[in-house]
Amino acid sequence: MILLPVLPIIIPLAGAILCMLFRRNLALQRDLALSVSTLLLIVAVGLMAYTRDGTIAVLHVGGWEAPLGITLAVDMLSSVMLVLAGLLAVAVSVYACFDLDTPRVKFGFFPLMLILLMGVNGAFVTGDLFNLYVCFEVLLTASFILLALGGERPQLEGSIKYVALNLLSSALFLAGVGILYGMAGTLNMAELAVVVQQGERGGLVTMVAVMFMMAFGIKAGMFPLYFWLPASYPTPPAAVSALFSGLLTKVGVYSLIRVFTLIFCTDPEFLHTLILIGAGLTMLSGVLAAASHYEMRKILSVHIVSQIGYIVMGLGLFTHLALAGTIIYLAHNIIVKTNLFLVAGAVNRLKGTYDLHKLGGLYKERPGLSILFLISAMSLAGVPPLSGFFAKLTLIIAGLQQEAWLIVAVALIVSLLTLYSMTKIWAYVFWKPAPNELPDLNPMTPAAWFIFLLPMVGFTVITIGIGIFAGPVFDYAQSAAGQLMDPSGYINAVLGGGE
């Protein structure tokens, strides 16, 4: 374990540096991005295999044993997140080869994407709170630029909201880190966990915990902090939206899960109840917003919010089963949501618009694309036996076990509304005849179109696969949740010298 945990950070960085050095060679950048993403996926799978039996891969960067230096620690949750990030990177790289305008590529889409991945991966592997902050800044800065790069009015407007609120969140995060350091004298999350458990100043811990909840809540897109998301996510090209929707909010959620299972579990009665309330409101508010929009990407964007509610619901319930549900939901959502954005991008590619009122007739014209959309949409709505069904099922069983009637009721109603807004897209874009003859704008050859669709096919196969092989998936999530519920393994691995 001298190298493996740090590879997800340094591989994309190295790739990005190469891209920057070969600024002018766009073809090379594209190939680089693709190969780096593939390499990342391989590394992630390697880490997953290594941590499969519950071992935690620990690396003390610089050879400074915890808590002196920065320690990277990869557990099952981290490695599944890394694998998903890798998958997403590969898919988006392939997709981006066809769907991006040259200026955007020229001004650094690929290096930025790689840096974004570096930040995201860093957030997943790090075991150090301040390092987490740095990783957040890395991925945020990269995302700011990716968002704004088009330089068009909506993108710029969206970027401003995105930047302002995320910087506010960073300031909160930083303040929280500072206070926590002042209190515990360490930044290592495992040691923080130990100190916080022992400390008698529970009240202060709870206050700081709330700050972290808010800081990550903004990034994750929770109610009532999510408003930057629908303002900004629908503005960039589909490749960027897909990348964002799949990764950025999920890093926020991941961090919430990490700190609220490892460090801030001293006062679940207050904190986790707050999270649960937030989860319910997030689900509801997001899905209602989705019901009121008539633009494909906007609907999908506010659905991100609503889905975050489900993911966080498991954390709020804070039981073994609920966390397993959260993990399945995370994985499911990353795959399905990204895919929906890619499909939306493909629709736009064909027809030049995302407007539900203007679109139509694609069921007749493009049966293949229709099926790709339908499967993902139904998976999102939780139609069995796709991935979304098992994710929701686990959460609902967990909720009923806790007799948390209200949140279960909300979750069920929201899933009906999700179904409603997904069928809305389906009815308007695919079933309804096109109101005006829309020209087919697709200049791609059938072969290119096929490659363009490949990532979507892959994701669709995965969402079906998760359903069919729900057994092993569930077992994995269950073990990962077990690690989270009993963090002593993590703490010992990090502080006990590791390897």
């Binding site: 001298i2 960085l13 050095l21 690396l59």
Partner: protein, 138 residues
């Protein structure tokens, strides 16, 4: 701002500022200073130059595209973590070599110093990228 006094002052200030920045970089490990401040000072020297004359001539003076300097700096910083791997240590473990500069005087040169040089380059490159492109904006 482009007054004669500033220009003349800049002409005299520029070389010492640059030297000072390198000095800050090198002594940073033991005294206040380091890559950040060093890079900032070096950057400030060029910024001053750009303010006194114009961006065009500052670019000429620099010779390299600041973006390349940044990328190279980042590469140096990243690469400084690699040597440790060859001796079987964790990534970024400090590796130190004794370098005799004069008979009898031996100084420690280590990978963290190389890392700091990377930082210096990045800060310099970044500052100039920003200043030059803002300065070129009309």
């Amino acid at each position: 701002m482009t007054s004669l006094i500033l220009r003349t002052a800049t002409r005299y200030m520029f070389p010492p500022l640059l030297v000072f920045s390198v000095y800050l970089l090198l002594r940073g490990h033991h005294y206040p200073g380091g890559g950040f401040v060093g890079g900032l000072f070096a950057g400030s020297a060029f910024t001053l130059y750009a303010l006194a004359f114009n961006v065009e001539s500052a670019r000429k003076l620099l010779r390299f595209d600041p973006r390349d300097i940044t990328a190279v700096g980042l590469a140096v910083a990243l690469a400084s973590g690699i040597p440790a791997l060859f001796s079987g240590y964790a990534f970024m473990t400090g590796t130190w070599w004794k370098v005799p500069i004069r008979p009898g005087v031996v100084i420690d040169v280590g990978s963290p110093l190389i890392f700091d040089i990377g930082v210096y380059l990045v800060v310099l490159g970044v500052l100039l990228t920003l200043v030059f492109s803002l300065g070129e904006e009309e």
